[in-house]
């Protein structure tokens, strides 16, 4: 069970359908494994329903109903046609996904297994993989920190959201495990270290690159953009 969670601002924006792609996917991944946040997000959806119900009605065009009914006739016909033909297609789609190690919201964007990710090196102990969600504001990456190794000390020029996908890591602020959702910003200077027993894989979403602060970190800065 996760111990670190997205705050209510994010959960409300998520339920409002107003988060960008990268953050939206990340919150969805956390919700998959966190019943508590799922509950909160459901409450914000209820609030969305309340808001919908509280709106003043807007007149609809006179022919809207007849147009919609005409469209429905088309849709109903198309559905009954496709019901006759669809048998095998659906099941094959399902079996494909069962094997994946990733949270469901990420599966469509990744290969079935962690080993198949085309990691590229930042250093011997840190590898990364870029995810493209066509998000204008945030970039999304996977980081892999080798078991027992640490990232150079760094701070953030903007905000960084991290979801632990596999393994665990610790920094000055705590110890984070699979499913944990961590928010770091410019006020946090930290040096995450993977736990000794296995590699730690994190899904990170940032609106600005990391900024390394130590000597070795400064050397790395040009490569981390």
């Amino acid at each position: 069970m996760a111990h670190y969670h997205p705050n209510h601002e994010l959960l409300m924006q998520f339920a409002a359908g107003q988060l960008g792609n990268a953050l939206g996917i990340m919150v969805a991944c956390h919700l998959e494994s966190c019943a508590e946040c799922r509950q909160t997000s459901n409450q914000f959806e209820h609030l969305g329903g309340d808001i919908l119900e509280s709106l003043d009605e807007v007149d609809i065009s006179p022919d809207f109903i007849s147009q919609t009914m005409a469209k429905l006739t088309e849709v109903a016909l198309a559905d009954s046609m496709s019901k006759l033909t669809e048998t095998s297609t659906d099941s094959s789609k399902d079996t494909l996904k069962i094997n994946s190690e990733f949270p469901k919201p990420l599966q469509r964007f990744l290969p079935a297994s962690l080993d198949q990710l085309s990691w590229y090196g930042v250093s011997k102990n840190i590898k990364q993989f870029d995810l493209s969600f066509s998000d204008k504001k945030y970039t999304a990456k996977f980081y892999k920190i080798k078991a027992g190794k640490e990232l150079p000390q760094h701070t953030h020029r903007g905000q960084e959201f991290t979801l632990v996908v596999d393994g665990a890591f610790s920094d000055e602020g705590g110890s984070y495990h699979k499913g944990d959702f961590i928010l770091a910003d410019t006020s946090i200077k930290h040096q995450p270290k993977a736990h000794a027993d296995c590699d730690c894989i994190c899904f990170a979403v940032t609106n600005a690159p990391l900024q390394f602060t130590g000597f070795w970190g400064k050397m790395l800065n040009p490569f981390m953009r």
């Binding site: 705050n7 409002a16 988060l19 459901n42």
Partner: protein, 198 residues
């Protein structure tokens, strides 16, 4: 506060169930009449152009037709369910024709629903909801609406209203508390957010 129970939500429950059970087109037409004006209001508030708003409403209603079998009145009110459908259609239609790969199905995979049966939520009738939301001071309601309709973050709202971030957070916290308190006076409402961690 006097409350007049709104029948709309129950009426809609019934119509959606009829669509699910017998593909009842007459029920669909009735639902369209009942729901379209508010769905259109939502579309417009979210920034839909006036000419596109009805397209979104139509898409939403046709999705209701297709997904009616997934509606479970024991886990959600019809209004909440309709809200999630129009929200998702809005996201997907806004992304049509663009190189945008994330869709609402990615964000809300149709997994086995693990919602707890929540009879309490059903007690909150439409008119009560209306009373609650409109009993909030304008300055609080405005912020809630900015999140839901405009997708603004707290810091963006702070910038727009030229107020400190802390003020936005505390107004939102007050709004949630007030909704909760008011609701509890009438029915034990959602246990919504007593301690907000905004």
């Amino acid at each position: 506060m006097t409350l007049v129970a709104s029948e709309t939500s129950y009426q809609m429950d019934d119509l959606i169930l009829r669509i699910a059970e017998t593909q009842d087109q007459k029920a669909f037409a009735e639902l369209t009449v009942l729901a379209a004006p508010r769905l259109k209001a939502y579309a417009i508030r979210c920034g839909s152009h006036i000419d596109d708003a009805e397209e979104l409403v139509q898409e939403c209603l046709l999705t209701v037709w297709r997904k009616a079998h997934q509606f479970n009145p024991k886990t959600a009110r019809s209004t909440t369910w309709l809200y999630t459908i129009i929200r998702n259609r809005r996201i997907d239609m806004g992304r049509k024709n663009k190189l945008d790969i994330v869709q609402s199905d990615d964000l809300w995979p149709e997994a086995e629903s693990d919602l707890l049966e929540d009879d309490i939520e059903r007690d909150l009738t439409g008119s009560l909801v209306r009373t609650l939301l409109y009993s909030l001071p304008d300055e609080q309601r405005q912020i809630v609406f900015k999140v839901y309709f405009e997708g603004k973050s707290h810091s963006e709202i702070a910038g727009e209203l030229d107020l400190p971030l802390g003020t936005i957070k505390s107004r939102l916290r007050l709004a949630m508390k007030k909704l909760d308190t008011l609701a509890k006076e009438q029915v034990s409402w959602l246990t919504i957010i007593l301690i907000m961690n905004f």
